[in-house]
């Protein structure tokens, strides 16, 4: 239990669309890697597939918001797909539910 849960990011690039399949934790220990490991060059749509994410904490939401702000400058956007009902509630509380691509 001394090792922190890692966040794994599987990246699939198709033209200007980058899909990131996430698994693990989006917590204060792992969320910074969302920023550091994703190359936004030429990307206008960044999709996060949350199928294997059980929890999203505020640190993860902050990272998503930073990425959204970065992409907005080039007319791009972040989309979130495959969220559980509980995670959808978290995005709604945070006012980020419009990121969810139903």
């Amino acid at each position: 239990m001394n090792d922190n849960k890692k966040l794994e990011i599987e990246q699939i690039k198709q033209g200007n669309v980058l899909t990131c399949k996430l698994s693990g934790w989006l917590d204060p220990n792992t969320s910074p890697s969302l920023i550091s490991e994703i190359n936004l060059n030429d990307i206008t749509v960044l999709i996060f597939d949350m199928t294997n994410i059980e929890y999203v904490f505020s640190s993860g939401i902050r990272a998503l918001l930073i990425l959204q702000k970065t992409l907005e400058k080039v007319g791009g956007q972040v989309k979130i797909v495959n969220v559980s009902d509980n995670i959808r509630n978290i995005f709604e509380y945070a006012g980020l539910d419009s990121m969810i691509d139903a």
Partner: protein, 145 residues
């Protein structure tokens, strides 16, 4: 996914270092404790979310650059599962924070202040008091919700 590794040697009440690298251990212990108390899946999700935000807040800010600990106790009565966090860091009532504006355009959105706000939103009860040098924050969720 949380691994439900049973930590035979540790249970609540628990005294643990106020460090972010203890987060997983705390949340796994809480998850196991909630399973023992038959807290619903939604209740577990809400408590894990609230507890993460509260513990991360203490680990990040309570002791500034000093070492410190958090005492964590759990209880379950009257259909409420509660977790009490005690620290001897600087006096701080997180419930007094102004809620972040979650309605403005993303480009104008402030990045901070979400953690405690989310803890308040997902919990059914939350309270703070300062007593004899202790910050005492207790959060509760309904067992059967």
């Amino acid at each position: 996914m949380l691994d439900f590794v049973y930590l035979e040697t540790k249970n609540f009440p628990l005294v643990i270092e106020a460090k972010l690298n203890k987060l997983e251990e705390v949340l796994t212990l809480l998850k196991n404790d909630m399973i023992k108390h038959h807290v619903s899946a939604d209740g577990q999700f809400n408590m894990i979310t609230a507890a993460e935000e509260i513990f991360a807040n203490i680990a990040s800010y309570a002791y500034e650059n000093e070492e410190g600990t958090v005492e964590i106790k759990t209880s379950c009565q009257n259909n409420i599962y509660s977790v009490c966090f005690k620290d001897r860091g600087k006096k701080y009532n997180p419930l007094k924070n102004q809620d972040p504006d979650t309605t403005t355009a993303y480009k104008d959105r402030d990045i901070g202040g979400l953690g405690v706000f989310l803890a308040k939103k997902v919990s059914d009860q939350i309270s703070y008091r300062y007593q004899n040098g202790w910050n005492i924050l207790t959060v509760g969720v309904q067992v059967n919700k």
